[in-house]
């Protein structure tokens, strides 16, 4: 739990650093803070503690999730060099808000009490509302922020109502208390409990953008500045799934038969809605939004088929997904910036469409390769991390014998190939006049590390096993 304390302090520190004349110190400072938090995260390794009067739990699983979240945040921040060039941006505030939002994410990962879950979700969400709207003059950014905010607040209401009903039924906000009620009811489970369970689940499913609560996702991801889209689609999703996993595996595993069919239907809807809709997109960024919905679907398989392997599957999948997504958005940022600079002079297609990638690999082999690897990983082609993520996920469904879920997932992953390969085709097989894009050294390291991680985990997925 040291990261939570440290990140809160560091966030305030960063805001003060913003008073300094020189902006150059902000990025290294933010990265350093994240690294320190990541390092102290492992102090409690192999020990299990309850912190803050039993409000937060720290065990190996929560530390692994924390590491994924902080690592993703580190990479996203490392890609944020463009703030320094933009006069109107306020990097100190952005970094401060990012660090604060991580506090929320960590609370969602380790919560032991529904109060902490609620506070964590809100810290993360409110920070995201602000970041989504941070491009203040851009109408798309404004619209995305309002949509996200209104729908997010609405869902918070639903989630809170669910928590209140659960409290009414069980008399407790703690995971253990709810579990004790669900496992051993004195007079049968009350209706309040079931409705509360469903509403709480719906609230969290909204945050991880599961269909039919996914409608906000494409619009918000599309409208938000690309960097924050990368942050949302990785950190928020990982934290959301960590929270869902904790809730379902600890409190509600006793009533598995009640909720798994609902979750399986939602999983199917999510897979179909995400994958099928992504096919028609012309904007890469919007495609990535639908793709993130579809990956939420794959992650949900592990929950709908909750079992021994779910933990490992979710950890592996979120890691593989986060790394590939960040690399993809990193390349998109550079390409879109280049295209924007070009459009000002010549006028041309939208800077975030698939066409923007035409012929990219010829002039920028590194960018092309990094993008190709992350697309292959997201598509689940073997020898990339994404393949093993899917493999583990599908194994959970096999373990539970939910073959029809497996069939849907496999079919939809075939659809996925189509839109991921569009990017590869554009980069390698199409002609396009792309000048070489200048890539800052640090930026380059992030892309190289992400690519190597994707391939490394694809070749030796067993590396992560020691973490459980």
């Amino acid at each position: 739990m040291f990261p939570i304390v440290l990140l809160s302090v560091f966030g305030i520190l960063l805001l003060f650093l913003g008073f300094l004349k020189s902006r150059a110190i902000l990025l290294p400072a933010a990265l350093l803070f994240l690294l320190v938090s990541l390092a102290v995260n492992f102090i409690d390794w192999n020990k299990t503690y309850l912190y803050f009067n039993g409000m937060l739990l720290s065990d190996n699983l929560s530390m692994v999730f924390t590491a994924i979240v902080l690592g993703s945040a580190f990479m996203v921040v490392a890609l944020s060099g463009s703030f320094m060039e933009d006069e109107s941006a306020q990097p100190a505030e952005y970094y401060g808000i990012l660090l604060f939002s991580l506090v929320g994410a960590l609370m969602m990962i380790g919560f032991e009490n529904l109060i902490m879950l609620f506070v964590g979700v809100e810290i993360l969400s409110v920070a995201m509302y602000v970041l989504t709207g941070s491009d203040k003059r851009n109408l798309r950014s404004n619209e995305a922020a309002l949509k996200y905010f209104l729908m997010g607040a609405f869902t918070t209401g639903i989630m809170l109502f669910g928590m209140a009903l659960l409290y009414g039924a069980t008399g407790s906000f703690t995971l253990g208390g709810i579990r004790a009620y669900a496992v051993n009811p004195q007079v049968g489970l009350s209706l309040l409990f079931y409705v509360g369970l469903l509403m709480l689940l719906i609230g969290l499913l909204f945050k991880v953008s599961a269909a039919p609560f996914h409608f906000w996702t494409p619009d918000v991801y599309d409208g938000a500045p690309t960097l924050f889209t990368a942050f949302m689609s990785t950190v928020v999703k990982t934290a959301g799934f960590a929270a869902l996993f904790r809730l379902l595996s600890i409190s509600f595993s006793g009533v598995y038969t009640f909720w798994w069919t609902i979750l399986a239907i939602i999983t199917t809807l999510t897979l179909v809605a995400g994958n099928i809709t992504a096919v028609y997109q012309n904007s890469f960024k919007r495609m990535m939004a639908y793709s993130s919905i579809s990956h939420a679907g794959y992650l949900l398989i592990g929950l709908a088929a909750l079992g021994q392997q779910t933990k490992q599957a979710i950890v592996f999948y979120s890691l593989a997904y986060s790394v590939a997504t960040i690399a993809a958005f990193g390349v998109l940022l550079l390409v879109a910036r280049q295209r924007n600079a070009e459009t000002i002079t010549s006028g041309g297609s939208s800077s975030e469409s698939f066409d923007a990638f035409n012929g990219l690999a010829r002039q920028n082999p590194l960018l092309g390769f990094a993008m190709a690897v992350s697309m292959l990983s997201l598509a689940g082609i073997p020898l990339t991390a994404g393949f093993w993520g899917k493999f583990y996920m599908f194994s959970t469904a096999v373990e539970r014998g939910q073959i029809w879920l497996l069939v849907v997932a496999v079919l939809m992953s075939a659809v996925g190939i189509y839109y991921y390969f569009r990017v590869i085709i554009a980069m390698y097989f199409r002609e396009g006049a792309t000048a070489p894009i200048r890539v800052a050294p640090f930026y380059r390291y992030v892309l190289v590390v992400a690519t190597l991680l994707t391939i490394g985990l694809g070749i030796a997925p067993g590396l992560l096993e020691g973490l459980f």
Binding site: V119, E122, V126, Y129, F149, L150, A153, L160, S172, F173
Partner: protein, 114 residues
């Protein structure tokens, strides 16, 4: 929903059954939802959401009293504090949009679609 510790609940509270509280909060909650569904003015939608949150608060306090358990009331304080923070951000977003478009009609905001 049997109160676990009947003895500790004051007479005054017991005069109204718990079910009534549940019904009224649910009604308030549904009114809030309908408000969100039917209004186009961002501020009114926002107020409807606040109504939903307050329905939750009422429910929590009722449960808390009937169980003589303080954690429900603690939760209410958290909700109020977080809701206040949310309000400030939400109003800021609405103001930002008003500056850019001179309107806070959410029906006009549909540039992002498909």
């Amino acid at each position: 929903m049997q109160p676990t510790q009947n003895v500790l609940i004051p007479e005054v509270i017991q005069q109204i059954p718990l079910t009534y509280y549940i019904i009224i909060s649910t009604a308030l909650f549904v009114i809030g939802i309908i408000g969100v569904l039917t209004r186009r003015n961002a501020i009114i939608i926002f107020m409807s959401i606040e109504l939903m949150l307050n329905a939750v608060n009422l429910l929590l306090i009722a449960f808390s009293s009937y169980r003589s358990d303080s954690s429900g009331q603690v939760f209410v304080f958290f909700i109020m504090a977080v809701a206040a923070a949310e309000v400030s951000v939400g109003l800021a977003i609405i103001v930002m949009i008003y500056r850019n478009t001179r309107s806070i009609d959410v029906g006009l905001l549909n540039k992002l679609k498909w």
